[in-house]
């Protein structure tokens, strides 16, 4: 394909504060409509905003994690437009003097490569309410719920560094992970904690400058983000190849039809008439505060990933799986502290993950604690049980039957490793199956497994497979 895709994302992250951005109403999802409201967020005559300190702290934390430069004196601005879910007729946001500029987010792509996506800016603003059209008893009426109006947001604008819908997807995932890991936001897309507007344009490879871009608003699931971008890319290329032009416009994605459509053309574009918010003094964030916040930043997701690769000798892929969320990473580290790191990785990513998935549990709810799992792995390392038996032990632990040691003891699962005993059993098996023995000696190597299986049967699976292999090989060769 001779066409290059240029994508930039603007992501709005709701900040996990107790109250709204400019008033004391609860910042809470799911309540009865219009119950978390007050004169300020209702835009009643005479009400005034007061900035939420916690919101600024969380925005600052996120900006610093992204490596942004913090503006000591940033300005609140009014973004003016009319819509029923915007009671004041303006949104309090930031315009030409935002809180933070210039950072980057390391994004792990599908092939394992890491791309540093530039961050243009991060600013603070308030959310609008929610509109429902034709959903009530009266199909011609629109209903407005202002609970969400005034919830604090951080808007993160990326540089147009993304080159495919996949990259955009990976970027959004990475940003979501960071937001959640920092405790800045809940990152729950169904609840609207993270919303995305995407800008896309195309150009020929090697072409200088950027062509007109179109903006797709309100992409609120990872799936729709990718589908919408794929559609829009194909659409723009098709237009150019047919000799047409792409004009800038604002679009929405029709998920039912899988297509983008124009919501607002360039001519209809809003003039927001930004001006500094006269009801709020400039936001001052002093150096000491920035230093303090930076110092208290937790280990960042990519830092944890790098450390896992180094400290536990894991592959990039494995490290990515294990650090996907903070709880999983923490669990893993507690296991790896007590036993072989590679084994720990295999068990956590493999059997434990499968077991949890089957029981619809999150890692935080795992009935098998990390120390319990580590104990089990140590039993394998010692040779007390085989890997195969361990699977049964794991299931038993998940059912609450006790620790690995207790289960092995109670059920007599200790691996039989005694070479003398095993040798005797092997002799028995060889004697009992003369035809297969003859065939094996004649060259049918596959039958080796048959004999191992027979020994396992006699020992109810408890024979140490490595020992059996070794002894059987010796006997056959000797």
């Amino acid at each position: 394909m001779s066409w290059e895709t240029i994508i930039g994302l603007e992501i709005h992250a709701q900040l996990a504060t107790r109250t709204k951005a400019f008033c004391g109403c609860a910042n809470r999802y799911g309540d009865e409509p219009n119950t978390n409201v007050c004169p300020v967020c209702l835009g009643l005559p005479g009400a005034l905003p007061v900035a939420n300190r916690k919101a600024v702290e969380l925005g600052l934390r996120l900006a610093l994690a992204l490596g942004c430069a913090i503006r000591e004196r940033s300005i609140w601005a009014r973004k003016n437009y009319f819509y029923p879910d915007l009671p004041k007729g303006y949104q309090i946001s930031q315009f030409d003097r935002p809180l933070a500029t210039g950072g980057l987010l390391p994004v792990r792509l599908k092939d394992g490569a890491v791309k540093n996506v530039g961050i243009t800016r991060l600013h603070l603003e308030e959310d609008a309410g929610k509109s429902f059209h034709g959903e009530g008893a009266d199909l011609t009426a629109s209903l407005i719920d202002l609970n969400r109006c005034g919830v604090p947001l951080a808007e993160i604008v990326s540089e147009p560094d993304l080159r495919s819908p996949d990259e955009a997807w990976a970027y959004m995932k990475a940003l979501r992970q960071l937001v959640v890991q920092l405790g800045v936001g809940k990152g729950n897309l169904e609840e609207g904690n993270l919303r995305c507007d995407a800008n896309l344009s195309v150009r020929k490879f090697g072409e200088e400058g950027l062509r007109s871009r179109r903006e797709i608003k309100n992409l609120n699931s990872f799936k729709f983000l990718r589908l919408a971008l794929e559609y829009e890319r194909s659409h723009q290329i098709a237009v150019y190849e047919a000799g047409g032009m792409i004009e800038s416009a604002t679009l929405l994605f029709d998920s039912a039809r899988g297509e983008t459509f124009v919501m607002r053309s360039k001519e209809e574009a809003h003039d927001y008439r930004y001006f500094p918010e006269p009801d709020l003094p400039p936001l001052i964030v002093v150096d000491a505060c920035v230093a303090h916040t930076r110092k208290k930043l937790p280990e960042l997701p990519w830092e944890i990933h790098a450390r896992f690769v180094e400290q536990y000798a894991l592959s990039g892929y494995d490290a990515a799986v294990l650090t996907d969320n903070a709880a999983l990473g923490a669990y893993y580290e507690r296991v790896a502290a007590r036993c072989d790191a590679k084994q720990a990785a295999n068990w956590v990513m493999g059997d434990l993950a499968a077991l949890l998935k089957e029981r619809a549990l999150e890692i935080e709810q795992s009935p098998v604690g990390p120390e319990m799992l580590a104990e089990m792995i140590k039993l394998i390392e010692k040779g007390t049980i085989s890997g195969k038996i361990a699977k049964e032990v794991l299931a038993a632990m998940a059912d609450g039957e006790g620790s690995a040691g207790e289960i092995v003891g109670k059920q007599g699962l200790t691996q039989l490793s005694d070479e003398k005993a095993l040798a005797a059993l092997i002799d028995e098996v060889l004697a009992e199956n003369p035809q297969q023995l003859a065939q094996l000696r004649a060259g049918k190597d596959r039958l080796f497994g048959f004999f191992v299986g027979q020994v396992m049967k006699k020992t109810k699976g408890q024979a140490n497979p490595r020992a059996v292999n070794k002894l059987l090989t010796e006997k056959l060769n000797g």
Binding site: L44, P45, N80, R273, Y274
Partner: protein
């Protein structure tokens, strides 16, 4: 009519404490005075008899118990209808608010209530506080009690007339470009615009957020100082209110003129000032000089830019502040086929011509391609204007000047000439732009029997100097004109 009519707030308080009158009686008398002559004056938009009496009863309880008492306990007051007072209408003088009743209390009136004052009702104003004559109320015009054919000034026309006509001894207004000082000058009462950030704006319908201030009106300087004492001070709910302590304004009133340096700005006595006004004001300045003050010539060189800067900033801010009046959540909605049509119908019907004019001007000034040339330029001019004052207040304590270029105008005299109306603001808007304090105190009468006010401006948070000069002047000058009687 009734004896309490002539009492100042302080005198009222003395009578209440002395037990020779009750708060309930005072409230009844105020209500009777309003009922008797407000039909001629149009000062009140709504009077709340039951609520007033209930407040008065409570005040009488406090007076009986002796605790807690303030000078305002039991004193009837009027509140401009752009304040939120729970249980009372709040229209900002506009039809667009429909039947709106306040659901929460403004901080300023809450503090008055806490002090035990009796809020009698809501007074008339130019719509959304935009106007300087009292002719632009969305409901009915307010008339000057000194001569009913003349306007009282505005936009706090109702509150000013309620005080001048002696319905109540005190009232609250708002001053964005002179809306307390100018009508005070035209009606012969005392009116104060405190420093920006001195009094909370929480609960006041915003007109121009960076210019609006709550201002007290009364018939004496001390009464105004008293009202300001109660309402001033930091409010957590207003991020632009300043966390500075409130000095004792009443004791400042007693400081006298000795050593006070008064600046007389040459730019405020230029072309267009009515000679009667100039004479009265210069005479007042001489009186102060003869009684201990030092008078100096000063210059405020950026004065010519005040009008343009003010109208760009005020209009821009108001165009945004009035966007919320869209018929969606409250007020009078004009139903229509779709959202855009509903917005248009509601706002075209609800807003009067002056408000519409300013919203359009403000929207234009902020629009893409014009922001830098107009709004941003105005902000820069504002800084220069503010710096003029900072500079002169290094050399002087207060500024003395006229309040308005002429006494009150006749009805309809400027109505068709918006530019002429704008020019009449020139003397007062600088204080709002600079954020400093200012007040009007009566200093003369025109031959036609219309009052003339002396304007005193003090530095930001320098109200004490301003009150000192005003109170001293008032005590010396002791004007003897009888208050107007409104005849049927």
């Amino acid at each position: 009519m009734n004896s309490s009519r002539d009492w100042t707030i302080e005198e009222t308080a003395a009578h209440l404490r002395g037990g020779d009158v009750t708060a309930v009686t005072l409230a009844e008398e105020a209500l009777a005075r309003i009922a008797a002559d407000d039909e001629q004056l149009g000062a009140w938009l709504a009077v709340y008899r039951e609520q007033a009496l209930a407040q008065a009863h409570a005040a009488d309880e406090r007076l009986r118990a002796g605790d807690p008492l303030t000078t305002l306990t039991g004193v009837p007051l009027g509140i401009k209808d752009n304040f939120n007072v729970v249980g009372m209408q709040a229209t900002a003088g506009s039809k667009i608010l429909g039947e709106y009743v306040a659901r929460y209390e403004s901080t300023a009136t809450a503090r008055l209530r806490e002090a035990g004052a009796v809020l009698v009702g809501k007074t008339n104003l130019d719509e959304f506080a935009m106007g300087s004559s009292g002719e632009f109320s969305g409901f009915l015009p307010t008339k000057n009690p000194w001569d009913l054919a003349h306007t009282p000034g505005g936009s706090s026309s109702g509150s000013t007339v309620a005080v001048a006509a002696r319905h109540v001894p005190g009232a609250l207004g708002t001053d964005t470009g002179g809306s307390v000082r100018q009508p005070s000058s035209h009606c012969g009462v005392v009116g104060v615009k405190p420093s920006y950030g001195r009094v909370s704006r929480y609960g006041i319908f915003a007109f121009a957020s960076s210019l609006d201030q709550v201002g007290p009106l009364a018939r004496t300087v001390r009464d105004c100082a008293l009202l300001l004492q109660h309402i001033a001070g930091h409010d957590e709910r207003d991020a632009t209110s300043v966390p500075l302590g409130v000095p004792n304004y009443l004791s400042a009133c007693g400081r006298g003129l000795d050593g006070l340096r008064i600046g007389v700005p040459r730019e405020y006595f230029g072309e267009g000032i009515d000679p009667q006004v100039e004479n009265a004001v210069r005479r007042a300045i001489r009186v102060m000089e003869q009684n201990g003050a030092e008078v100096l010539d000063i210059s405020l060189p950026h004065t010519p830019y005040c009008v343009a800067a003010y109208y760009l900033i005020a209009s821009a801010e108001c165009s945004s502040n009035l966007a919320r009046y869209d018929g969606v959540r409250y007020g009078a909605r004009n139903e229509a086929a779709d959202l855009g049509a509903m917005y248009t119908a509601t706002r075209q019907t609800g807003f009067g011509p002056e408000v519409t004019r300013r919203i359009l001007l403000g929207t234009f000034a902020l629009s893409a391609g014009y922001y830098d040339a107009y709004y941003l330029k105005a902000l820069k001019a504002r800084t220069l204007i503010r710096n003029d004052f900072l500079k002169v207040f290094n050399e002087i304590d207060v500024i003395a000047a006229p309040v308005a270029p002429s006494p009150a105008t006749r009805f309809g005299e400027h109505r068709d000439d918006p530019l002429a109306m704008y020019l009449s603001d020139i003397l007062t808007i600088s204080a709002n732009l600079a954020g400093i304090c200012g007040m009007s105190v009566p200093c003369g009468m025109s031959p036609q029997g219309l009052p003339i006010g002396l304007q005193l401006l003090g530095p930001a948070f320098g109200e004490e100097k301003m009150f000192a000069a005003a109170a001293a002047y008032e005590a010396i000058a002791a004007h003897e004109w009888p208050w107007p009687e409104v005849t049927a």
